[in-house]
Symmetry: C2
Subunit: 472 residues, 2 copies
């Protein structure tokens, strides 16, 4: 039986157009497919035939056909030619994720909200608006890595991370008088993965771990996933309740204490030097390690204490990040710790996820060493301090009581006294008004008596917030 | 007391030079610091003063000083000016990692070897040489994302992953007659993280899990870390021993079976359709999920069976990646599975590491849709098939017996009969000869009787390999 010939197709191509011939052919054929003139399974003319019919070169046709293959509109069968791909009857998937009906529950809500473009006022979110970040720096960094030889980019990165970046991190830490050679520094997929690697390397199920209370919501969730016994140490406006730490450590023999010395999430508070000293004394006395989760260091004050520097990494494992000042999307965190522990953590990292993306490590390195990073951070810190003051004034006006007056950073932590409603109830009502609130029980081990909220000062300086709370 | 004046510095700058003035100042001052003319703690001239002395604008000086700050050579003190930074007496860290004395142990050796540039013949490694990968495609993709507006790059990515990339993945799977909407697809930090997310979401400690034996060494290590009961199903040249699967599943009631249908690592073997069918029947009969770890699909044969397509994602969780064809450094894997399970996996991902880097997701998307990806994969697959044939001939010549004749892909699996030595002993000897071998016990649950090795065909086509084994 003679095979059916592919039917001839004639597109009108414009040679003088700014749009290239390849793109015109792609668009023309895609249009014919969309309107059903070309149907699923139908064969396209051979490359040579189509080229002759259209008066274009075969390489132009190949390029166009391949792009249609890449877009899933055309299928190539070896030796047989090109065919219109099977068009799935399903409606084309929309690029914006549309969750069924949001269920408010801690990390999960936060993760869905990451994607939800429908909430105009992101008062509860955990990141800065794009325009506050270093767009230009990132673009400049991208332009630079393009000039780097490609062969360096297609391999796996170094298990510890890109060495020049680790050197830069070492210099960054030296500013705080913490001297760390680069074989005690490893990069991670954001500070969040750093916390998980520490847990999975150092904690056995059933061990006791201390955390700040309230605390970073992902830390609570990942400790629950690891099936460990978690005890909270109350935060105070000047750090943590060191008496509670002393008593609870004596009682429970913890393995680790995860804490944040500077601009703590969610309370925005920082340790005094005396608080830092007492935490390290308790660690020494009761034999636990301190994990200093220090991702806001760049935005703090110069005299804020750094546990790792005070202790010289004897009992402290330091976790840092540049996500808050360069770009969270780069997903670059790091750990600085004792040499042998670093080896073990790298082992866990390699087993669970292999290396980081060296391309993003190069981007971060480039952004940090370009020269204008420090100025960017200074401007950002100043803008956040101003926003803090304005937002705290608004919160008072709205009937909320701030926990403290943070010395910078992204967050303000405040409670709303005048209500019978729970923080979850209030967050639910706010969502209907287009305001995303982060209720306190996301950050507490057990729901607090009063409705607390974490406010992102970069998003909360809006009159709608006052109006909403006044209307409750 | 009058403050000491900063001593004047005069550099000879060349205005006609191709090197910019900023860079000349940076280099000049760095040189003065290195040779000790400028010492730790010494103040630099004010920006204005230095500018006047050198006859350059203040913005040039600021830029140069800032770069020196970024490089850790100069410290800026608010309101006081710029000072030569404290130069740590430690010798400068070398950028190449230098492990003390390599200890050969499975994933850990593999992870150290990632970084070790001292082994010239990487016969045991798990990735392709940079020149076999798609350098040009990656560079082109980089050039493209630079043109994208920056604000889209500095935010966190979508929890499920960059939507256009998920659409491309959905189209990729449709080529194998697997129709998956994008809300059943999530991206991961490489296929390795995908495996870990599945374990942490679906397996409780003490559960039984089946794997191929031999198997991907990281999978073995991460299952041990998760404290689960692991049982191996023997690989055969045509897939797996389905009778063993049937018996062991009946006996042990496993939760999951991790297997690779196409170009299995380390054996290089692929399922026959009949083997695929029997695995799915066993899954149905004994109620376990099948995790199809399918990272080599693009390099396989068109008629290789895909479990996920046969089963329609009823009992199969599909794990894929483009690391082997685009660039491993991008660290981009994905999972396709039932909708509710996808939600749970995204939840675990968000808790443990938050989103992927959207920048790398855009790079992969760009590389895949550019149009020449398919041709690159075809060339790569053909090159690997040729290398397979040549390496298998060499292995026979060297006295090794290949397990099968793989139908493509990166790996050949072979045993060396004529010896009293263990595979580890042989690997140790080879390392001294500059050859990195991957001994079989990295991939087996219990060390095999005979010395098996995994060979990377892209690195093993060298006479030194024959010479080494002949000399044993």
């Amino acid at each position: 039986m003679k095979r059916a010939q592919a039917k001839p197709i004639l597109l009108s191509l414009e040679r003088a157009s700014a749009t290239g011939l390849v793109e015109q052919i792609v668009a023309g054929l895609a249009h014919l497919i969309a309107q059903g003139t070309l149907r699923s399974g139908e064969q396209l003319p051979s490359v040579r035939r189509f080229g002759t019919d259209q008066g274009v070169g075969t390489s132009t046709v190949v390029e166009a056909y391949e792009r249609l293959v890449a877009r899933g509109l055309v299928a190539a069968r070896r030796g047989a030619g090109f065919f219109i791909a099977y068009q799935s009857p399903q409606s084309p998937p929309t690029p914006v994720f549309n969750p069924p009906a949001p269920v408010i529950d801690s990390a999960w809500l936060l993760s869905e909200m990451f994607a939800d473009e429908r909430v105009p006022i992101k008062a509860g979110c955990g990141w800065l608006p794009g325009k506050w970040l270093d767009d230009d720096g990132l673009h400049q960094a991208e332009r630079r890595i393009i000039r780097a030889p490609g062969a360096q980019q297609v391999g796996y990165g170094h298990p510890y991370g890109y060495a020049p970046l680790r050197l830069t991190i070492s210099q960054f830490l030296a500013q705080w008088s913490l001297e760390v050679p680069i074989d005690q520094i490893l990069t991670t997929h954001g500070a969040t993965q750093a916390l998980d690697l520490i847990i999975r390397t150092m904690v056995k199920r059933g061990d006791t771990v201390l955390i700040d209370d309230p605390s970073y919501c992902n830390l609570i969730a990942m400790l629950r996933l690891a099936d460990v016994n978690v005890i909270g140490i109350p935060r105070t406006p000047t750090g943590i309740d060191t008496n509670a730490l002393e008593n609870l450590a004596r009682l429970h023999k913890p393995v680790l204490y995860f804490t944040t010395s500077v601009l703590h999430n969610p309370t925005g508070t920082s340790y005094t030097p005396a608080c830092a000293m007492r935490v390290l004394q308790a660690a020494e006395r009761h034999g636990f390690w301190v994990v200093e989760d220090d991702i806001f260091r760049e935005l703090g004050q110069p005299n804020d204490p750094m546990l790792a520097a005070l202790d010289g990494l004897q009992r402290v494992i330091y976790v840092g990040s540049f996500s808050k000042t360069v770009a969270p999307s780069l997903r670059l965190g790091f750990i600085a710790c004792q040499r042998e522990l670093a080896r073990q953590l790298v082992h866990t990292k390699m087993v669970l996820t292999l290396t980081n993306s060296e391309i993003t490590e190069r981007l971060v390195h480039s952004a940090l060493t370009e020269g204008h990073h420090r100025r960017h951070v200074e401007n950002l810190a100043a803008a956040l301090l101003h926003a803090q003051a304005r937002v705290n004034a608004r919160l008072l006006e709205a009937g909320l009581t701030p926990f403290a007056t943070p010395r910078g950073g992204m967050f303000s932590w405040a409670k709303f006294d005048r209500t019978e409603l729970s923080a979850r109830d209030i967050a639910d009502l706010a969502r209907r008004d287009g305001i995303w609130l982060a209720p306190g029980d996301f950050f507490h081990l057990t729901p607090p008596d009063q409705p607390w909220f974490r406010f992102n000062v970069a998003y909360s300086d809006v009159p709608e917030l006052v109006a909403f709370f006044r209307g409750l």
